[in-house]
């Protein structure tokens, strides 16, 4: 049994890498989501075109290939990334493309009357967006953002292919060293599931907090 505790330590280290990747990837994805999502609604054709190209490209190609590209191809054009950097880049850009459509949809779901109130109160485009539209749209985005974050968490498993020592990578190591398949893979299955639950729970409580007051129940 002492042998197993060492292996579990290895898997926990992998879990930390997975969490780190998920957090950093989510930050990049969130940034890209707002950039591209709002870009798609821009008055300027160039911004709309750039945003659309980004979204279609990263949704339309495989995360595996994007990751390999970031790690193995970019060095040829002089950009060498560490496995972690390549992983965060591929995950963030990929999930960001999906989330960008969430941002766009949420902004468009806010009724025309809110925009008209902004005009009648003489708020500038950006002022109205920042103080009136986005705070309401954010609440619409949150549940789907939760989905996106869980997708991102699960997608982190692919980084084991570029030798990043995440959960999946460590499980392979344990399997190779012990010859046992059931224990390491069941363990990481449970850990992924718990992490996903944590994300769900976190997003839901954030949602509850932000929705406070909107339904007429006293805050």
């Amino acid at each position: 049994m002492t042998q197993w505790s060492g292996y579990f330590g290895l898997i926990l280290q992998g879990a930390l890498v997975t969490i780190e990747l998920t957090l950093m990837g989510s930050v990049l994805a969130l940034f890209m989501a707002f950039l591209a999502g709002m870009g798609r609604l821009s008055r300027f054709f160039v911004l709309r075109a750039l945003a659309t190209a980004y979204i279609e490209f990263f949704r339309g190609t495989s995360i595996f290939v994007q990751l390999f590209w970031a790690y193995f191809v970019l060095p040829f054009i002089g950009v060498s990334l560490t496995p972690l950097q390549a992983g965060v880049l591929a995950l963030g850009l990929n999930v960001g493309a999906y989330a960008a459509e969430v941002v766009r949809g949420a902004i468009q779901s806010i009724g025309r009357e809110q925009y008209e109130a902004c005009t009648a109160l003489n708020l500038g485009r950006w002022q109205g967006m920042r103080h009136v539209i986005l705070p309401q749209a954010l609440l619409v985005m949150l549940p789907t953002f939760g989905n996106n974050a869980i997708e991102l968490l699960k997608a982190t498993a692919v980084v084991s292919l570029i030798s990043l020592t995440d959960l999946t990578f460590q499980a392979q190591v344990v399997r190779a060293q012990t010859g046992n398949t059931l224990v390491p893979f069941t363990t990481i299955l449970i850990i992924y599931f718990i992490l996903a639950l944590l994300i769900s729970w976190g997003v839901r409580s954030l949602e509850r907090r932000m929705a406070r007051g909107l339904d007429g129940v006293r805050a």
């Binding site: 008209e116 109130a117 005009t119 009648a120 708020l123 500038g124 009136v132 309401q136 909107l214």
Partner: protein, 261 residues
């Protein structure tokens, strides 16, 4: 003879193939209280929306307070207005909507203070002091900390009035402000507006289906049909002795529908 604060000159506006306004001209004097009445689709609301720059005109000119609304004068030429010009012109105009359009994520107080703080750079303390005075005036001071969802329709509309007043516009536009309200809540909003009309020298344009209210509120009533002013005059003239057949027909229908004149 003072100069008109609103001068509409031969404006036209179509939605698709439907021509709502076709060469409409009218003038409003400073401080005047105007009621725009007429059947649905006659263009009354469109006029308010055009004045608030929520709809653009297809042709014609509008002068507000001596300045072109949709045009800028550059070296004697009239050019289409840019966003900066519109922003400056909008400072003169405020609007209250049929469906209130309050910001649901902001408290009553924040709804009222947001625009003055953002567009005029008013400090929070000053904006809140002014907001409290306005909320006091519309009888909503005790709800300053509430969220819009906790208010009745009449209360929401009174907050919306305070919110529009917070920017001290010279012209206020009221677009069917009581037609979304339950009957028992209509009176409280009307009372606020009566008080407002009596106490301020703001120019007010009111689109309404409440003929009794239009009668009490307005100095002048315009009856619209199919984008044209069919008849205009003092409330008593229009409501008691309408000259045009279309006005008579419209008022008859309204009375038959149970509205008080």
């Amino acid at each position: 003879m003072p100069t008109p604060i609103i001068k509409i000159d031969a404006i036209s506006k179509s939605f698709g193939t439907f021509k709502v306004l076709d060469g409409l001209s009218m003038q409003v004097m400073p401080g005047e209280k105007l009621a725009l009445i007429g059947p649905s689709g006659s263009g009354k609301t469109t006029i308010l929306r055009i004045l608030m720059t929520l709809e653009r005109i297809d042709g014609g000119h509008i002068q507000i307070d001596g300045e072109q609304l949709y045009h800028m004068e550059r070296n004697g030429q009239l050019l289409p207005a840019d966003e900066r010009h519109l922003t400056r012109m909008r400072q003169k105009i405020g609007m209250v909507f049929q469906l209130f359009n309050l910001f649901p994520h902001k408290s009553v107080m924040d709804n009222v203070t947001l625009a003055p703080m953002l567009t005029k750079g008013t400090a929070r303390a000053a904006a809140e002091k002014r907001a409290m005075e306005l909320l006091e005036m519309v009888g909503m001071a005790d709800k300053a900390k509430n969220m819009p969802a906790q208010l009745s329709g009449g209360q929401k509309q009174r907050v919306a009035i305070a919110r529009a007043l917070a920017l001290s516009p010279k012209i206020m536009l009221f677009d069917e402000v009581t037609s979304a309200l339950d009957p028992e809540l209509v009176e409280e909003v009307m009372n606020v507006m009566r008080k407002l009309a009596a106490e301020t020298d703001m120019t007010m344009l009111l689109v309404t289906h409440e003929m009794g209210f239009a009668h009490d509120f307005a100095d002048r009533v315009l009856f619209f049909d199919r984008g044209k002013i069919v008849e205009e005059g003092k409330p008593d003239e229009i409501f008691r002795h309408p000259k045009q057949e279309r006005t008579q027909g419209f008022l008859k229908k309204i009375i038959a529908a149970g509205h008080r004149v």
